[in-house]
Amino acid sequence: MRRMDQLHGFLSSLSSLIPLDFQIWDADGLVYSSDNGAKGSHLTEQQAFSAKVMNQAIYQSNSHNGQAPMFGMPINYGQEVIGSLIASGHNAHLVGRSEDSPQPRIYDDKRMKPFLTHLAGLAGETWANRNEIEAVAEELSLSFEDLSLYARISTHMRSLQFSEEMLKALVKELQETLRVDLAFIELPDREEYNAIVAGRELQERVSDQEAFAHNLIQSIPAQAPSLEQDYFIVNDSSTMPGYRELHPEPYRFLAVRVAHDATFDGWLGLVSFKLEEHFRQSELRLLQSMAKQISALLANVDLYHELEKFVINMVKSLVFAIEAKDVYTRGHSERVNRYAMLMAERLQLDKTQQDILNWASILHDIGKIGVPGSILNKPAGLNEEEFNVIKGHSKKGHDILAPLEQLASCLPGILHHHERVDGKGYPHGLKGEEIPFLARIIAVADTFDAITSNRAYRPAKAAEKALAVIKEVAGTQLDPKVVKAFKEVFETTLKAEFETSHDE
């Protein structure tokens, strides 16, 4: 029984006004005593008396047997006896006093019984109130727990970047906030997303947690009625064949399907060895809505990957289309792409810029699709008109890709890859810093490959010589900063490659 400060205060005051001591006992022992100096032997006697009161659940007294007078009344909460209220005479000299004593005769059952009935009723009521308030507060506290979990989980879910880390973080939140020993997500067709988080106690109890989790899922009976609501629950594994065998100690287990519409991805599961607590309805609901969202997010990830694959394949066929037309430049787009990316690393571009450059460099000549093959493949001697058609390819490339939203960021790199830092390039005649940085990188890679590869209008030159040319035009045609980066890349990586392939 919990402390009831007001009632205890009342009994203490009462004890100082009348010659009675009060005690409250429960099954665990003494809860309260108005006599702070209560003696050991006396206490044992009182404890036995209190036990008798609680067992028989009715008023008891021993005032007639010559002992120290004691009176006891059970304290009830509903039908249940939760303790006892004991009153005893606290003046030793009163013990055994004769019937015709001048002392006030309050020690008889006729007066004590109704008095203690009211007092014990008061104690029971106080206890019930306290109990109910605490139960409500405890319930409130659990709702706070749920709310906080909802809030934190929705923050995780809001971030669009669906990743293994995000799932891991979600599972960890579940394990911590729901105070379970194990939380996991098992997705059979996407094992890279599987996550498992175990509390310290479980780590000691189960060595192979993944196998344990897997067995829990495998043991779910296919016919369980709750599966219609996409969950399965075991409140006590020791009573459940199939689960009893998985661990010697009893545990409880809750699993929720990660699924939406007709798609099934896997399971979200919780395990706890604390059987005194149980899975709550609100936890089940939270888990269910989380599982549904995870499943929807997984579908989004698929869509995104498919879209990405589609774009990559489309780009590949576009590149293939240019190279099919321009036989002399086979492999040019890939090489320019490679040189550009080597420089990007050297120049320490961030991940986003590198991604954009990757696309822009592989697609920089896409506009050549719009240039007639007769011009493109002419070995030498283009007239001015033909040359202008060729010069139009960077603008054409830009226009071809402009409708593709995903590639919007790489358009400037394509449009301006023939600009010159001295402003004499095309299509816009931009100067120096006006030229987008990525376009300046592509320009260096493009120029180098144009010289080193076997083009229709120019014989192949040695790579060393190409580098010399590039250095020469740094500051007029090309950006010196980028040329410097290229020189370094050449020395560290490309030079050796050209030397080994020289004889082929």
Partner: protein, 127 residues
């Protein structure tokens, strides 16, 4: 756990006070409560708590001002302050960083975590 340690809870929301009080008492802490910052300030002086849990948005005196006005006391008599707020803003992080033994916690809060944070502080300060 929590023996003889006194925690002051300052919040104008009665439900929050009730839940925090219950959790702390169950763990064996003494609990005193204030309904606004002004009252809280007086009780930090009169009750000398070992830890305070305070809201930021409160009538009369807000949590930020309360923390700033009491931070100097911690040099002589250290105590933990847990500041609870609905949305942690960068500004909150900045001023809380300047305070001694002060932690930020977002609402809706988890009572388990709050208790864990308080237990942890006393474990550390005793060792």
């Amino acid at each position: 756990m929590g023996n003889n340690k006194k925690v002051l809870v300052i919040d104008d929301d009665a439900q929050i006070r009730r839940v925090v009080e219950l959790k702390l008492r169950k763990r064996g802490y003494d609990v005193v409560m204030a309904m606004n910052g002004e009252e809280g300030l007086q009780m930090i002086d009169s009750e000398r708590p070992d830890a305070i849990v305070t809201d930021i948005m409160m009538p009369k005196l807000d949590g930020e001002t309360l923390c700033k006005q009491t931070n100097h006391l911690k040099k002589q008599r250290p105590f933990l302050t847990i500041v609870m707020t609905n949305r942690i803003s960068p500004n909150d992080r900045n001023w809380v960083k300047e305070m001694q033994d002060t932690e930020l916690m977002e609402k809706p809060f988890s009572p388990t975590r709050l208790l864990g944070c308080i237990d942890e502080y006393f474990r550390r300060s005793e060792s």
